[in-house]
């Protein structure tokens, strides 16, 4: 009888302690084990040890979760919670709090963001066209694992430039000269079966061999250029300004005329003998001498 008393006391005390512990939310020391790393959009689980109830927190890019869990059971993390690459912190609180963090890495590339400059470029210019490509996964995370991106520039059926480039820190780039022929330049960045296409309008460069002719009319003189081309033979676009300068005994007279259908034309007042020259940008044309009325 005397021996059973301490046992009963011990049992009672233990029961009381457990009751108080459960009332205070104190349970066996909890631990949590997070995955070493996760791929974006994959499901995963966090294992816990201990017993009793606990509060679980998950914080990460786009995520702020708080819910009650049972210690000793796995905490399931859904795929939609882990779509953003980055650092995630899991916290488990049961009396005290324990934490662990893990990384979510980008999934495989699903798109290529491709920036190309400029949208319009003169032909035959060195280092005139450049492009930058970033591979992103389906959740818009930057893919940092090195990938090979093929850059291809074509005009019509001819290749102007082709070069594979390895991404470094999630970016690959190129820079090259513009083509010799005016027209649409197709610029493509491809990664496996993904590709992004851009277009650059190649226009004629500065006029080359600018030649003019003129004649006297009843109202003065009319001067006009021959069809204006760049040095590669591309017609200079309409709207390009040609400046005609007429010099006579009384001084100089200047007229700016835009090219229309490949030719720039101007009418000037010049009663006496006159010398007319033409220029477009930094390019000078020939001079023509027109006699007096």
């Amino acid at each position: 009888m005397r021996r059973s008393f301490p046992l009963r006391t011990t049992l009672l005390l233990s029961g009381a302690c457990l009751l108080v512990a459960s009332m205070l939310g104190v349970s066996a020391a909890q631990e949590l084990t997070v995955p070493a790393s996760v791929t974006a959009g994959d499901e995963t689980a966090i294992s816990t040890t201990g017993s009793g109830a606990a509060t679980f927190y998950l914080l990460g890019p786009s995520v702020s979760r708080r819910n009650e869990v049972s210690l000793g059971q796995e905490i399931h993390l859904q795929a939609r919670e882990l779509q953003n690459a980055g650092d995630y912190m899991a916290i488990l609180c049961s009396g005290t709090c324990r934490s662990a963090s893990f990384y979510v890495n980008a999934a495989k590339p699903a798109s290529v963001t491709f920036l190309v400059h400029p949208s319009r470029v003169p032909t035959g210019q060195s280092d005139a066209v450049s492009g930058v490509a970033f591979p992103f996964d389906q959740f818009h995370n930057l893919v940092l694992v090195p990938k090979t991106i093929n850059f291809q520039l074509t005009t019509g059926n001819s290749s102007v430039f082709s070069q594979p480039a390895h991404t470094r820190d999630g970016v690959a780039w190129f820079r090259t000269a513009s083509g010799k022929a005016a027209g649409m330049l197709q610029v493509v960045a491809s990664l496996d079966d993904l590709s992004a296409k851009r277009a650059v309008q190649q226009v004629a460069s500065d006029p080359c061999n600018l030649r003019i002719q003129g004649q006297r009319t009843a109202n003065g003189i009319v001067v006009e250029t021959e069809p204006v081309h760049d040095c590669a033979g591309n017609p200079v676009p309409d709207g390009t300004i040609v400046t005609f300068t007429a010099t006579d005994a009384s001084g100089k007279d200047t007229v700016d005329a835009p090219i229309k259908k490949g030719i720039a034309k101007a009418q000037m007042d010049a009663p006496g003998a006159v010398v007319v020259s033409a220029a477009s940008g930094v390019v000078m044309g020939n001079e023509v001498r027109i006699g007096a009325h």
Binding site: P61, R66, W173
Partner: protein, 177 residues
């Protein structure tokens, strides 16, 4: 004689209290100070970073982290308007929305950022940076601090120029560079 001793003791207590107050106030100033950012442009390429751009990046990156810290601490969206765009803005907004639901908030204290420009596009329309950030992270649930630790994180950052500033489009934490 006892009165003099008491007076000296009171004076010492007052002086001690004043010192403590001073220390506490200087500590709170340090806590509330804006993020410290150091930028290294030595490895940036293929385009060289102009000094005006360097100053702009420093100013706008510091402002962005200050704004993000405010947004995550007070669970408000307003600070995100301006310094963030694209994917970075989207996930920050989602985080705040979810924090409002869960009652959580995060506080970034004593931020230090070692920023390094690693890529500057030929036409200057995008810059990639690596940031080694360290700060005291405090997580609260309903105003009650549940977790605090000093963290060191690595971020890959994409910034693009907007009308009057550089904005963060991508802010992605990585295990290492």
């Amino acid at each position: 004689m006892r009165r003099v001793a008491n007076c000296i003791l009171q004076f010492r207590i007052l002086a001690l209290a004043a010192t403590l107050l001073l220390v506490l106030s200087s500590t709170s100033f340090a806590v509330d100070s804006s993020p410290r950012v150091q930028l290294n442009i030595a490895k940036a390429g293929p385009r060289a970073v102009e000094s005006l751009t360097e100053r702009g990046i420093l100013r706008d990156y510091r402002f962005a982290w200050n704004s993000m810290a405010q947004a995550l601490e007070f669970n408000t969206f307003d600070p995100l308007e301006g310094p963030f765009a694209g994917e970075a803005k989207t996930w920050l907004r989602d985080t705040i929305t979810n924090q409002q639901r869960s009652g959580l908030s995060q506080r970034y204290v004593n931020q230090n950022h070692q920023l390094e420009a690693v890529f500057y596009a030929p036409e200057g329309d995008v810059m990639e940076l690596h940031d080694t950030a360290d700060y005291q992270l405090q997580i609260s649930d309903g105003g009650k601090l549940i977790h605090e630790e000093h963290v060191v994180l690595h971020f890959v950052v994409l910034m693009t120029p907007a009308a009057d500033r550089w904005v963060i489009r991508q802010l992605q934490a990585v295990p290492q560079f």
